[in-house]
């Protein structure tokens, strides 16, 4: 399958485009806050940041409604926000507060909002696969054209459960979309060192149509998502997207506090931070080039997003800690 490459998004209104840009910006700025806050010890757990991959979650989720499902990974803040998760309760969750979306029980690796179709970040690599297949099965039985999307990493593509998911979803023509975000690293190992062949090719023997895209190119990713979601909604079965991207930050924030050595060149990282690689800067440039935003507008948007993030942080900081007894809620009953 080929991506229908228009290289434009002219089916989208300017307002819509700005909204999408804003969402990417919001993810970026939330993550940047978490990056600095973690070094100050502002919240208890570790965070895996989505910086550099924003185009993928935002473009895919633009095709989804709250009735659709997504399952995510340990690197899940971006998916949460893109799918419409509330930033305040996400931030409060990461700060371990009672007002967190999981009441402080889950933290960064488990931000979820089932009411909005967000089955959650997941601490088990490959763990979202079963959830997404199950939701896709439910969707297919509901017959209401709902779809299910599983976001997973290049490292996760080596878990056997992926093969099982591909076989079952193709067999049952489930409305499932596999989105492999190939950010080139599995923790501290370049994924090519632990991966045979190309990931996207793994879907082919199952008869699953595949799309390989530049995941840092918002337009390309948006169009691929449109195609995949359309197929799923039309009961044409699963689609597999491999989106090439780059993990700009460490596997986990502040990792050199415990790692004994480096594992990649700063040159390599810098290359991906540049204007022609970073997905946010690229999308910004596109909007500039098409006169959809200008410097003034950008500044305004930045301010707006800054204040959303700021508000979420103050919401988190000022929220109460969980009630001690809540540790014993939500058990089996």
């Amino acid at each position: 399958m080929n991506v229908n490459k228009h290289n434009t998004l002219d089916n989208l209104s300017d307002e819509k485009l700005v909204e999408l840009y804003k969402k990417m910006l919001l993810i970026r700025k939330c993550e940047e806050h978490l990056s600095s806050a973690t070094k100050e010890g502002a919240f208890p757990g570790a965070v895996h940041l989505y910086i550099g991959q924003e185009a993928i979650a935002v473009s895919m989720c633009d095709h989804l409604t709250e009735d659709d499902w997504i399952s995510s990974t340990h690197r899940g803040h971006g998916h949460f926000i893109a799918k419409g998760g509330d930033v305040n309760t996400m931030m409060a969750e990461i700060y371990g507060k009672a007002t967190g979306i999981c009441n402080g029980k889950g933290g960064s690796m488990h931000v979820a909002d089932f009411k909005k179709g967000i089955m959650g970040a997941n601490g088990v690599v490959g763990g979202g696969m079963g959830l997404a297949i199950g939701a896709a099965l439910a969707a297919s039985m509901d017959k209401k054209n709902k779809v299910s999307v599983v976001f997973f990493g290049d490292g996760a593509a080596n878990q056997g459960v992926l093969m099982e998911a591909m076989n079952v979803s193709s067999l049952w023509k489930l409305p499932l979309i596999f989105v492999c975000e190939n950010n080139q690293y599995s923790e501290f190992t370049h994924t090519s060192e632990v991966t045979s062949g190309k990931i996207v090719d793994r879907a082919k023997p199952f008869g699953i149509p595949t799309l390989e895209v530049d995941g840092n190119n918002f337009i390309e990713m948006w169009q691929a998502s449109a195609q995949a979601v359309l197929r799923a909604r039309n009961n044409q079965g699963p689609t597999f997207i491999e989106a090439h991207t780059y993990r700009q930050r460490g596997h986990v924030e502040f990792e050199y506090s415990f790692l004994s050595r480096t594992y990649r060149d700063q040159d390599e990282v810098n290359k991906w931070l540049a204007n022609d690689k970073d997905p946010l800067l690229r999308f910004e440039q596109y909007l500039f080039d098409n006169s959809i935003i200008d410097n003034q507008k950008t500044e305004a948007l930045n301010n707006e997003v800054d204040s959303v993030v700021k508000e979420s942080v103050s919401f988190a900081v000022n929220s109460p800690l969980p009630d001690l007894s809540s540790a014993f809620n939500n058990m089996i009953a």
Binding site: S71, A112, F114, I133, S148, V161, E164
Partner: protein, 320 residues
Amino acid sequence: MSRMRMMPAINSALIEEMDRDKKVILYGEDAGISLLGQTTGLQERFGKDRVRDTPICENIMTGMAVGAAAAGYRPICHLLYGNFIYTGFDSIANQAAKLKYMTGGQITLPIVYMAVIGGGRSAAAQHSDTPYPALMNLGGIKVVVPSSARSAKGLLKAAIRDDNPVFYLTAGSSGKPEEVPDDDFILPIGKAEILREGNDITIVAIGPMVLKAVEASLVLEKIGIHAEVIDLLSLLPIDEETIINSVKKTGRLVIVDEARDVCSAASHIAAIAADKAFNSLKSPVKRVTVDNLAIPYSPILEDQVIPNVENIVNTVRELI
């Protein structure tokens, strides 16, 4: 009432519940034809949409149940033999057991995982395990182990209606025909049953061991020992009250469990007694269980390692 064996009783519970609630779905390897008889005829009755044959892929099977349950269905995931629970253990332990708690109770997970357990069929090491101890320790999973056609029906209906993941584990052989209620017969999860009353000693037995405990109590009766036999039925939640009350009455406790001994249900029940019925205990709490080994193939060896009536009788006699 109808006379039936365990597998048909399970089958009738499945039919009744699937008739009652369209959200109940079932899948498993060969679920249509049914290797072991629990699901016979369901596919013909409810269609291939609600009763699905899956590929052999326990990892996705167990995980899929969690997703489908979170999305509003009540999946029954049929795993054939207890040993294949291990094959699909990841999603059981890391997702099913934790997702409700770790998301602050956003969802319920009405899942039934079913499999047959235990030895006695020369099926050897990889088809004879009694894996409930591992499940009982996961924290977010209920476990029930019926011992008869009647309890098989009543507990399965309860498990399907329960809003938590429930492991439903039965013996592999279908047992003797017995009376099973026809109508909407539910046995509450978490409630043990006293099968025989007695004042001298309490014998708690689980699943396939219950019949043996009853037989042992008949032998003991002949020599004047009146054992109270408890059919535990639910392993988690466990009916501490029934056990403790019985031990308070008898002062003595033997637990019969086909699981391996270390960290078994038997260990846990002994621990409960040593804590909460300590002052009533007149003698050591004994466990009749399986050693640190796999179930062997040859029947003569299998008989050596799986608790039998004689083991139970002898253990009781050590105490009285």
